[in-house]
């Protein structure tokens, strides 16, 4: 070994030593060679009840009201001006401009498209069967109609189209299976879909082919849910005559969709009509 080589060897040895030392020091908790397995039995999912039979609720009542905006409603933005669509121009926005429907304020500052529903069926309330008539979810001029839809779980929804252009309907439910199916031009028979699970909040429905197309659906395992009309009014019939908790949900609440009121407690009396008028500020909608 020549003396010239020796410093080089020292360097190499030192490098190797420090590398191995740093590898051992640097990384601590690695994966063990063989993980230990613990078994946990799947719990009994039936809820514990105290055995006392739930008393049936006697009678029903009605709740109505109007949801209004305090202050000046913003002018809805035009998404596609009449006849100015980049694609499918003979269909999308051909008859009228497509406007942003995320906050629709009507006469008397009534807020349309607000969901009002009971989340959990009150104990002792009798729940009628879902209607056998299907709900219709249509599209016209590349706009979903209706913009908001309340259905029962397992109620058939027929997706139709009055547009001479292809669409797809893409749902984003929280608990049910999602759906993403193409809808052919002028589909009149309707493509049937179902939501098999009760949903806790409304969820968006989109058309990926026309990015502005958006609607909101909710499926409930009871009939006590509705949406406000163009003038902000709503009516819920045949509500169980008891203390109920309503959710008030809007797609722009807080700017990104959520509850305007998480728990609206109302007492329903037999054969009576109660009224609940609600007012919201622009700030409630993130504006």
């Amino acid at each position: 070994m020549t003396p010239i080589m020796r410093p080089f060897h020292i360097t190499v040895l030192a490098t190797l030593a420090v590398t191995s030392a740093s590898l051992q020091l640097g990384c601590g908790k690695g994966a063990s060679a063989t993980p230990t397995i613990t078994y946990k039995a799947g719990g009994n999912s039936t809820p514990v009840t105290d055995g006392e039979p739930v008393k049936q609720i006697d009678g029903s009542g009605t709740l109505n009201g109007t949801i209004t905006l305090v202050g000046t409603a913003p002018t809805p933005a035009v998404i596609v001006a009449k006849g100015a669509a980049k694609r499918d121009a003979s269909v999308c926005g051909a008859a009228m401009a497509i406007v942003d429907e995320s906050l629709t304020v009507g006469t008397g500052n009534g807020i349309a498209n607000v969901f009002i529903y009971i989340d959990k069926t009150p104990p002792g309330a009798s729940v009628p069967d879902p209607p056998t008539t299907p709900a219709t979810f249509d599209q016209k001029g590349c706009v979903f109609t209706p913009h908001v839809l309340v259905v029962r779980t397992n109620q058939e929804i027929l997706i139709k189209s009055q547009d001479d252009a292809g669409h797809n309907t893409h749902t984003y439910p929280g608990r049910s299976r999602s759906f993403n199916g193409a809808i052919k031009a002028l589909e009149q028979d309707g493509v049937p879909i179902f939501y098999t699970k009760h949903e806790r909040t409304p969820f968006p429905v989109k058309c990926d082919m026309h990015s502005w197309m958006q609607a909101f659906h909710i499926a409930l395992d009871h009939p006590w849910g509705t949406v406000t009309k163009a003038d902000g009014s709503f009516e819920l019939n045949d509500l169980p005559a008891t203390d109920i908790t309503l959710r008030v949900w809007h797609e722009k609440a807080g700017g990104k969709g959520g509850f305007l009121k998480r728990s609206l407690k109302v007492t329903i009396s037999k054969d009576q009509t109660s009224t609940q008028d609600l007012e919201f500020q622009l700030s409630d909608f993130g504006l």
Partner: protein
């Protein structure tokens, strides 16, 4: 001179400066759990603790019976018990070598939970680990002969081992798609990120719209890889190891999905974007994180279990009811006409020439979780990544290139992406025409550009009208006469193309 000699050893010290977080054998929680910590530590703790209780850590896994996972179970009977930690057993199947640290469940009514330390196949002797026991008091009494015994978890164990060896680098210890190699993939804008399993969603399935991937789908993806992506093929892997990996991937997916559903339940407790906690925090905390938490966990578990169980039901698979139609020029042309038709809109994403450059890519999509528009145009998948419609001229199909694979893609779409299923509006026969057309696109000379003109290589052929009358069986139904007449693939242009090949 000395300082120069020290440069290399000093460089070797560099790794000490970097963190090793990627390599820790820990399940990482969703980042929203940390956010939840700032507003409601009770809720955050509940999420963390329930995940730990039901799934454990990578080194101490929990096999939870509530989920449809095959953890690997061997049943048998205790023959005799020389002492509290030794059992002579009769097992229904022989365990493999190096059988240790699996769960041992003794008895039926009030089972005692132990851990196996060692199994001797020649003497049928199972040694129990004296340190691991879930019994309230340290087990001292020997087990009675005739007690049923279940050894649970050898497959989960094998899956974890193999996952750490083969998959963790990209998919991460947690299956969140954030392994140490993922950062290099994310530098490649057009490549998909390693799959984040935590939504329970996998793109390429043989199941109907809305249904999850079944085991066979996951097995196919691991065996074949995903062509055109970083996901390699593991074709040489032994089927036993592969099966264990599939179960472990499902385990991680279910863990992530339950975490996700719990966080959805606790959503209203999360602070605002600027960190402000919700106004009625105490009421909400009581309702969601204390009183309603167990119910939310049970609900999430039931939904996850149901989704993964349904995926295995053969009734929810997609199989054609008619054989593929013969791949004739007429069939391809029918498929082509459907492809460019604005009534079903394939070309709006995939482009008229099939190059994945359709006009919809210029649109700004909305995030379905926040209702806000994304800040860049383009189609998005469920993980909010920008995705490109497949360039059909490349001949690379991520979900498989068998006609059946393409038929399934056309019929039920690609899960968690904007690619819709067309079974709802295109007859099965017509879907086969589309398959025949799509599979013909990469064949030289068989595809058309945005103007309906035929391409071969880079040279555009302007002779499409010339051969129109050669095709006597031409079906002109639904044909768009405003466009130049596309020719079919048996025209002389094809033989001409072949001559120009090197």
């Amino acid at each position: 001179m000395i300082s120069r000699r020290l440069i290399l050893p000093l460089l070797a010290l560099l790794p000490l400066g970097f963190g090793c977080a990627d390599y820790r054998a820990e399940f990482v929680n969703d980042e929203r759990v940390a956010q939840l910590d700032t507003s409601s530590p009770v809720a955050a703790d509940n999420v963390r603790n329930s995940l730990l209780e039901h799934f454990g850590t990578p080194n101490d896994l929990v096999a939870w019976g509530a989920l449809p996972i095959d953890y690997g179970e061997i049943t048998g009977t205790v023959l005799s018990a020389p002492d509290a930690h030794t059992l002579r057993v009769s097992l229904d199947t022989d365990p493999t070598e190096q059988f240790s640290q699996v769960a041992v469940v003794l008895g039926d009514a009030t089972p005692a939970h132990r851990t196996a330390a060692h199994y001797d196949a020649t003497t049928h002797t199972l040694t129990l680990d004296p340190l691991h026991s879930t019994a309230p008091t340290a087990p001292t009494a020997p087990t009675a002969p005739g007690t049923p015994i279940r050894l649970i978890g050898h497959k989960l164990q094998a899956g974890r081992k193999a996952f750490m060896r083969h998959c963790m680098h990209c998919h991460g210890v947690t299956g969140d798609g954030n392994g140490p190699t993922a950062r290099y993939i994310s530098n490649h804008r057009l490549n998909p990120q390693p799959r984040d399993f935590r939504r329970g969603l996998f793109k390429f399935t043989s199941t109907k719209d809305g249904y999850y991937a079944n085991r066979e789908d996951l097995r196919r993806t691991v065996r074949q890889g995903l062509a055109g992506t970083y996901m390699p093929s593991f074709l040489l892997m032994k089927s036993k190891e592969l099966d264990a990996i599939i179960e472990y991937v499902r385990f991680l997916a279910m863990r992530g999905e339950i975490e996700r559903r719990l966080l959805a339940h606790l959503k209203d407790l999360l602070p605002d974007d600027d960190g402000t906690p919700p106004g009625d925090l105490k009421t909400l905390e009581k309702e969601l994180a204390v009183d309603g938490f167990a119910e939310a966990l049970a609900d999430a578990t039931a939904l996850v279990a149901e989704n993964w169980t349904n995926a295995e039901d053969p009734q929810n698979g997609v199989l054609p009811t008619m054989a593929r139609l013969p791949d004739t020029p007429q069939s391809r042309l029918k498929g082509r006409n459907l492809f460019i038709s604005t009534k079903i809109n394939c070309a709006k994403c995939h482009g008229e020439g099939g190059r994945g450059n359709g006009g919809f890519l210029d649109d700004f999509q909305k995030n379905p979780e926040t209702q806000q528009s994304y800040d860049t145009p383009g189609l998005r998948d469920a993980w909010h990544n920008i995705i490109r419609p497949r360039n059909l001229t490349s001949g690379i199909y991520r979900g498989g290139r068998r006609p059946l694979d393409v038929f399934r893609r056309v019929s039920v779409g690609i899960k968690a992406t904007p690619m819709a299923g067309f079974a709802t509006n295109v007859l099965e026969e017509d879907r086969w025409h589309i398959v025949n057309y799509v599979l013909s696109i990469p064949v030289d000379g068989a595809f058309f550009d945005e103007y309906g003109q035929q391409y071969h290589g880079r040279v555009r052929l302007f002779e499409t009208h010339k051969h129109k009358h050669d095709d006597h069986d031409h079906d002109h139904d639904g044909h768009d006469h405003n466009k130049p007449e596309p020719s079919t693939t048996t025209t002389p242009s094809e033989s001409q193309d072949k001559k120009s090949q090197p």
